[in-house]
Symmetry: C2
Subunit: 312 residues, 2 copies
C-alpha cells in the first residue's frame, strides 16, 4: 500500500503544488475530486481571502485537501488561526524552518509536510516531526534551493536519509516522469507547472498561453543572491540577468525586483515585466486542460510506463 | 530487443562516458569486458597517446569499444586518421557541430553517436545521420549545455523529437537512476561520474577520494560565459564565482582559468587549484570499485527497480 495515499486518504499519490496566484479553491477542489490532493496556495492570499478559499473548497469537495503555507508569510498568526478555526487537516509548509510550527500543528491533529531541496533540511524536517517531505529539484518553477540539485540526483539521496515518505517535485508533468520519480524512491509526486495551466488555475490566460509556447531553455534560475527563482526569460528577467553579469549588488537586484512581480506575471498576465514562474517541464506542456484530465491522464501513462521495461 | 545493445553489439545498454583524464584503455576495456560499452576519452590525449590507448584497448578486450572525440580538438585531422588507421568502429562526438564529420565517419562504416543537451542539436544530429544521441542533463559533470535542462525534463522531450535511440546522461550513477532514465524514454544510459572513480580510471587517487567525500551542493555549474562546466567547489572555483559576482568580463575569467586546470585537478590531484569535474551524483557515490562491479551492480539494481512498482 502506498504510504502517501494512506497519509492523506487519497486515491492517487499526486499532490497539486500550492502555487501563488494559481492554486485557489477551484483548482484544489478539482484535483481532490479527481483523486489527488489539492492544495490552496496561501502565499499569495490575504488572510480573509485565504479563509474564503478554504470555505469554498470545503463546499466544492468532500475529499481531503490541504493548504501550502510559506513560513515567511508576514501575518503568520492570522493564517494559523484560520487553519485551526476552519479545521484544515493537511498543511504543507515551505520556505523556512520546519521546527517552528510543526509540533503546534501536530498537537492539533494536523498532518504536516515540509518542502525541502537538500539533505540538511530533509533531516531537520524529519526530526521536527513532519509526516512526509516534498523534495524539490532544480528544474521546478518558482522559488528553489541554492544547491541546484536536480530531481534524479535528489530523490535517491533524500530517500536514503529519512524514513518518512518522500514526495518528488520538480520535473514531473506526465505519467512517465511520475513513474520515473517513484522508481527513484519517491512514494508520491507534487505537480506544479502542469496544474498551473489547467482551466481551474487562477493564473491569467496569457500566462497559460506563454507556458504552452515554452521551449527548452526558455526558463532560467535567476536572482540567486536574493532568493533563487525559476522564471521564463522576459524583459524583466533579461534585465536582471544583465545586472548580475554587470556585478550589481543584491540590494540593487532587490530594488529592481520590487514587490508584486509574481502577481503581475501570473495573475495579471504581464508577460514582459511580471515574474513568469514555471518549471522546465513547461517545454513539454502543450495545452490547457481540466485538472481532472491531468490526473487521469497521468495515472494512465504511469500504468503504461511501469509495464514498459523488461529485465536485462 | 534493446536498440542500443543492438547498435553496439553489447550485452547491457550502459555506456561509460569518455571523460578527460579518466577514460584510458584500462577503464574502457574493463567496461566493455563487463558487457557495457567502454569509451576512450580522446579529449585529453595527444594523437600518439590516443593511438597507443586504442592499440592497448584492442589487446585488453575482444568486445566492442569506442572513442569520444570532442569536435573542438585542435588536431582533428591527426585524430581522424588514427581512428581510420586503427579501425575504430564506434565514435562518440561532442562539443561541436555533428554535421561536420558524421557523413565521413558513416562512409567508413563507423557507428556515430553525438552528445547534445537541447532539442535544437538533437534534431540537427539526427539530420546529420548519427546512429544515436546522448542527451545530457544539467546535473552531469564537466562541460554542459547552456539551457540547463535536467535529465528528467530533457529525455522525454528529446525522445519525442527524434526516431534514433536516445542515451541518457547526467544523474545516472546507480540502477534505480538507470531504470528511471529508461522509463523517461531513453534506451540506454551513459555513466560518467561513477566510472570516473573506479579502480581502472586514470584519475588521481586524491580526486577519487574527494568525489567519495562529496555531499549535495558540493558541485556547481560555473564559468557559464566561457563554457559552462560542473566542478566541485574549491579555491579556484570559489575565486571564479567571486569574480563573476564582481562583474568580471569573460576575458578576465578565461585568463583566470588559463590552461591545464582539468589535468591539474583530475590527473594530478590538485584539489584546491585544479578543476574537479564531476556530476551531482557525486553525493551518492561512496566508494571506489572495479568497473565490473559497477556494471553488474547497476544491472542488479535495475532489475530489482523495474519490478518494484505496482499499478495505481
Amino acid at each position: 500500500m502506498n504510504r502517501v495515499c494512506n497519509l492523506f486518504n487519497i486515491k492517487y499519490p499526486i499532490v497539486q503544488g500550492g502555487m501563488v496566484w494559481c492554486s485557489g479553491w477551484r483548482l484544489a477542489a478539482a484535483v481532490s475530486n479527481a483523486g489527488g490532493l489539492g492544495l490552496i496556495g496561501a502565499g499569495s492570499m490575504h488572510p480573509d481571502v485565504f479563509r474564503e478559499h478554504i470555505i469554498k473548497c470545503k463546499e466544492a469537495t468532500d475529499k481531503p485537501f490541504g493548504v501550502n503555507l510559506p513560513l515567511l508569510y508576514p501575518q503568520m498568526e492570522d493564517m494559523i488561526n484560520i487553519i485551526i478555526e476552519q479545521e484544515v487537516k493537511i498543511v504543507f509548509t515551505s520556505a523556512g524552518n520546519p521546527a517552528k510550527y510543526t509540533s503546534f500543528f501536530k498537537e492539533k491533529g494536523i498532518t504536516v509536510v515540509h518542502v525541502i531541496a537538500n539533505s540538511k533540511f530533509a533531516i531537520k524536517a524529519e526530526q521536527s516531526g513532519v509526516d512526509a517531505i516534498v523534495a524539490e529539484g532544480f528544474e521546478a518553477g518558482g522559488h528553489n534551493g541554492r544547491e541546484e540539485t536536480t530531481t534524479i540526483a535528489l530523490i535517491p539521496m533524500i530517500k536514503d536519509l529519512v524514513n518518512i515518505p518522500v514526495i518528488a517535485a520538480g520535473g514531473v508533468a506526465n505519467g512517465r516522469q511520475m513513474a520515473s520519480a517513484m522508481l527513484l524512491g519517491a512514494e508520491g509526486v507534487q505537480v506544479g507547472s502542469r496544474f498551473a495551466i489547467t482551466e481551474e488555475s487562477s493564473a491569467h490566460s496569457d500566462f497559460k498561453q506563454r507556458v504552452v509556447d515554452c521551449k527548452d531553455g526558455d526558463t532560467i534560475l535567476t536572482l540567486k543572491s536574493v532568493v533563487p527563482v525559476r522564471l521564463v526569460k522576459n524583459d524583466f528577467c533579461n534585465r536582471v540577468e544583465k545586472m548580475i553579469l554587470d556585478g550589481k549588488t543584491t540590494e540593487e537586484l532587490k530594488h529592481e525586483l520590487g514587490r508584486g512581480r509574481a502577481k503581475r506575471g501570473i495573475f495579471e498576465g504581464d508577460l514582459s515585466e511580471g515574474e513568469i514562474e514555471i518549471g522546465q517541464v513547461s517545454a513539454l506542456i502543450d495545452r490547457v486542460e481540466k485538472a481532472e484530465e491531468v490526473v487521469s491522464g497521468m495515472i494512465k501513462e504511469y500504468n503504461a510506463a511501469i509495464n514498459s521495461l523488461t529485465e536485462l
